[in-house]
C-alpha cells in the first residue's frame, strides 16, 4: 500500500479509532503517580507492557492500520489540555456512571515541546505496519474546556485558533517523526452549532499546508442528527482524506447523509462495532453494513473500524469485537471483490 497516494490499495482496510481499555493496573498506576507514590519510570513500564500486549494482538488479528491504544491518555482532552497550559479539575459526568476530568484554561495556551511524538515513535517501533497517530482537535478541546480565562471566555475564536496553532505544531512534529496517517478527533464538532464556523476554521488551521504529506482522517461521532445535517456539507469541504463516523450505534442511519450530500470522493471510516455495548456484533451484521456502504464507495475506500475508542469496554470484550472486525473484513474481501 502506498500511503502517500490518495487512499489505500488494500480493499477493506481495518483499523481502530484510538483508545483501548485501560485496566485497573493502569488506572491505579496513574493515580499513584499523581500522588507521588510511583516514579515515572515504573509508570511507563506498566504503560509499555500494555501497549506491547495490544500491538501484538493487532498483529495477531492482522489489523491493517494499528493504533497505540492511547494508554498515556487518561482522557483525550485532558492529555492534550494539560500539556497546553490547562489544569485538571475534578470529575464531571459523561453518561451513566462514566465521568471524566475537564481541563480548565485559566491562562494563555502554552506549547513548549511535542506532546505525543515520543509515544508515537516508541509504538511505531513495535510494528512494521503504519501506525495511526491521533490528536484531539481544537473544536473538541475548546468545547470540553472549562474556561476561566477572561480572554478566552470573551472570544471563542481566539481560543480555538490559539489551540489550532499549537496543534499544528504537534502535527508537524508527528510528520517529521515519520507519521503517515494522522487522525484529528473531533467528537464535539457539531455540539454547539453557534461555534461551528469557528471550529471549522480551527480544524483547517490544524492541518494547513500538510495535506499532501500524510493521510489525514477526521473522526466525528455521536452528533445530534439535525446538527450533523447542517454541518455535513462543510465537513466534506475540509481537506481530509477520510471522514470516520459511528455507523453501528445508529444502525447505519448516518448513511442518509452520504445519500443526500455525497462524500466528496473521500474514504469512509465505517464504524461497524458499537463501543458502548458488550453485545457482540455478528460478522453478518458487519458485512451487511459494508454491503450498504458499497453503494457509495470502492472497497479500498471503506475502512472497517469500531464506532469510536474501545476504552469503555473490558479488555476481553474489546479484543473480541476487534477480532470480529478483521474477520468480517476478510470475508468482505472474498465476497465483494
Amino acid at each position: 500500500m502506498n500511503i502517500k497516494q490518495r487512499g489505500f490499495t488494500t480493499p477493506f482496510p481495518t483499523s481502530a479509532v484510538g483508545s483501548y481499555p485501560q485496566n485497573s493496573e493502569m488506572r491505579d498506576a496513574r493515580a499513584r503517580l499523581r500522588r507521588g507514590e510511583l516514579d515515572e519510570a515504573s509508570y511507563f513500564e506498566i504503560i509499555k507492557k500494555h501497549t506491547l500486549s495490544w500491538m501484538n494482538f493487532q498483529e495477531e488479528i492482522d489489523i491493517t492500520v494499528p493504533v497505540s491504544g492511547e494508554f498515556l491518555r487518561e482522557d483525550m482532552a485532558a492529555y492534550f489540555g494539560t500539556h497546553l497550559g490547562g489544569r485538571l479539575l475534578d470529575f464531571v459526568p459523561s453518561y451513566e456512571n462514566r465521568r471524566y476530568r475537564p481541563v480548565e484554561y485559566y491562562q494563555s495556551i502554552q506549547y513548549s515541546q511535542p506532546i505525543s511524538v515520543d509515544d508515537f515513535k516508541f509504538v511505531q517501533s513495535l510494528t512494521s505496519r503504519p501506525l495511526k497517530a491521533t490528536l484531539t482537535g481544537p473544536a473538541t478541546l475548546a468545547d470540553w474546556a472549562l474556561i476561566r480565562s477572561r480572554k478566552y471566555y470573551r472570544d471563542r475564536r481566539i481560543f480555538r485558533m490559539d489551540l489550532a496553532r499549537v496543534l499544528r505544531k504537534e502535527v508537524k512534529y508527528l510528520l517529521d517523526a515519520g507519521g503517515k496517517i494522522i487522525q484529528i478527533d473531533e467528537p464535539a464538532l457539531t455540539t454547539k452549532m453557534q461555534n461551528f464556523a469557528l471550529d471549522i476554521d480551527a480544524i483547517r488551521e490544524t492541518i494547513r499546508g500538510f495535506e499532501g504529506r500524510a493521510y489525514f482522517i477526521l473522526h466525528i461521532c455521536y452528533s445530534d442528527m439535525e446538527a450533523l445535517d447542517e454541518a455535513f456539507p462543510y465537513i466534506l469541504e475540509l481537506p481530509f482524506h477520510q471522514i470516520h463516523m459511528e455507523m453501528a450505534n445508529r444502525n447505519y442511519s448516518l448513511m442518509r447523509f452520504i445519500e443526500k450530500y455525497g462524500f466528496a470522493d473521500k474514504d469512509i471510516g465505517l464504524g461497524v462495532i458499537d463501543v458502548h455495548s458488550d453485545r457482540m456484533e455478528t460478522k453478518d451484521e458487519i458485512i451487511s453494513g459494508v454491503k450498504y456502504a458499497r453503494h457509495y464507495f470502492r472497497p479500498e475506500q471503506i475502512w472497517l473500524t469500531p464506532d469510536c475508542g474501545l476504552k469503555e469496554r473490558s479488555d476481553k470484550v474489546a479484543r473480541e469485537k476487534l477480532r470480529i472486525v478483521t474477520e468480517a473484513a476478510e470475508i468482505c474481501r472474498e465476497k465483494f471483490l
Binding site: 459523561s94 451513566e96 470540553w144 445530534d224
Partner: protein, 320 residues
C-alpha cells in the same frame, strides 16, 4: 432577591466521602455486585450532603440534585410503553449522553416517577423544594422512533403521562415543578404544537406552581413565548445576550427565574457584570417577580466549583 438552585447536580466528586462511595457502589451495582438497596442508600447520602451544602450556601429554594438519575430523560424508564434504551445519543449542545427510549403507544404512567425522591428531600429541608421533569416536546425529540410515530402524537402521549406526574408532585409538597424544554428554542417552527402540548401538560394543574425552563438559546426568537400557560419561566441570560429583549412583554403576573451566572465555565462574573445584567432585567420585571439562578443546571461543573458559583450568587443576591 431570592436564589433557586435545582435540577441536576454533578454526583462525581473525589473530595467527598459520600460521592466517592456512590461511584464505587454504582460500579458494583452495574456489575451485579451490589443491591439496589445499597445503591439507593448511597444515593440518599449524597442527596443529603448536597442539600446540607446548598442550605449552608444560603439558597432559598432547592432541588434534590437528581442524584438517582443519570439523565433527566431516564424518567422514561418509569413510563409504561418506553423500552429498549439501547442507542446512546447526545443531549443537544452538551457532552452528555443518554440511552434513547423507544416508545410503543399507548404510554402509561406505571407508577409515580419522582414522588419518592420528593418525599426524601422534603424530609431533609424546610426550604421550598423544586422538582424537575423533562417536557413532552424534548422527550419526544430524544425518543428514537419519534419519526415513525410522529412528533405530535408522541408529544401528546408524553404530555398525558407527565400531567399526572406533575399533579402528583404538587399534591405531595413540591413548591414548584420545573419542566425543561431547551429544544424548543431551536425549533421555532414547532411552537404551535408546543403550545398545544403545553396546554395538555398543564390541564387541571395549578400553573402558578409549574415552571418552564429553557437554556442555550434565545427566547426572543419565539413571539408569545411568555404567554405560555406556565406561572414561572427559567430563562438563560448568558451567552447570546438577547433574551433581555424578550422580557419587553413579560406578564406582570408571572415569575422570572433569571439565569445570570454561567453554569458551564469556571469564569467568574464580576458583581458589576451581575449588577448590570440584573438592572437590565429589572427594567422589564419587578423585583417581586424576579428570582435568580444559574443559566442551567450545575452538573457541568465539578462539585467544588459549582458550590462556589452558588455561594457567589447568594452573596450577590444579598448585596444587590
Amino acid at each position: 432577591m431570592e436564589v433557586i438552585v435545582c435540577g441536576r447536580w454533578n454526583r462525581h466528586c473525589s473530595s467527598r466521602e459520600e460521592t466517592r462511595k456512590l461511584h464505587l457502589v454504582r460500579n458494583r451495582y452495574d456489575s451485579d455486585k451490589a443491591s439496589l438497596k445499597e445503591l439507593m442508600s448511597s444515593q440518599d447520602e449524597v442527596t443529603a450532603l448536597l442539600v446540607r451544602e446548598l442550605e449552608g450556601a444560603g439558597v432559598n429554594m432547592l432541588g434534590d440534585g437528581m442524584i438517582r438519575w443519570d439523565s433527566i430523560f431516564d424518567i422514561a424508564h418509569a413510563i409504561d410503553g418506553c423500552c429498549e434504551f439501547d442507542q446512546l445519543t447526545r443531549i443537544p449542545k452538551t457532552n452528555h449522553f443518554h440511552r434513547q427510549p423507544v416508545a410503543k403507544l399507548p404510554l402509561l404512567r406505571k407508577k409515580s416517577i419522582l414522588k419518592q425522591d420528593l418525599a426524601f428531600v422534603s424530609e431533609l429541608t424546610e426550604k421550598p423544594v423544586v422538582m424537575c421533569l423533562p417536557g413532552p416536546y424534548g422527550l419526544s425529540l430524544q425518543t428514537r422512533n419519534m419519526p415513525e410515530i410522529g412528533l405530535e402524537k408522541l408529544a401528546y402521549a408524553y404530555a398525558e403521562v407527565l400531567n399526572q406526574e406533575i399533579r402528583d408532585l404538587l399534591a405531595n409538597g413540591a413548591m414548584l415543578v420545573r419542566v425543561e424544554e431547551p429544544h424548543i428554542l431551536d425549533h421555532v417552527q414547532d411552537f404551535g404544537l408546543f403550545k398545544d402540548t403545553s396546554a395538555r401538560l398543564l390541564d387541571g394543574v395549578d400553573t402558578l406552581r409549574v415552571a418552564l425552563a429553557t437554556w442555550f438559546g434565545d427566547t426572543n426568537t419565539i413571539p408569545g413565548y411568555f404567554d405560555l400557560p406556565f406561572g414561572t419561566f427559567f430563562v438563560d441570560f448568558i451567552g447570546e445576550g438577547k433574551s433581555v429583549e424578550a422580557l419587553r412583554n413579560f406578564p406582570c403576573d408571572k415569575q422570572l427565574v433569571a439565569g445570570i451566572v454561567d453554569a458551564r465555565h469556571t469564569y467568574r462574573e464580576s458583581f458589576r457584570q451581575l449588577r448590570d445584567l440584573a438592572s437590565c432585567i429589572l427594567q422589564h420585571v419587578s423585583s417581586e417577580q424576579l428570582l435568580i439562578s444559574t443559566q442551567t443546571d450545575l452538573h457541568f461543573l465539578p462539585w467544588e466549583e459549582a458550590i462556589l458559583k452558588v455561594k457567589r450568587l447568594v452573596r450577590f443576591a444579598h448585596e444587590y
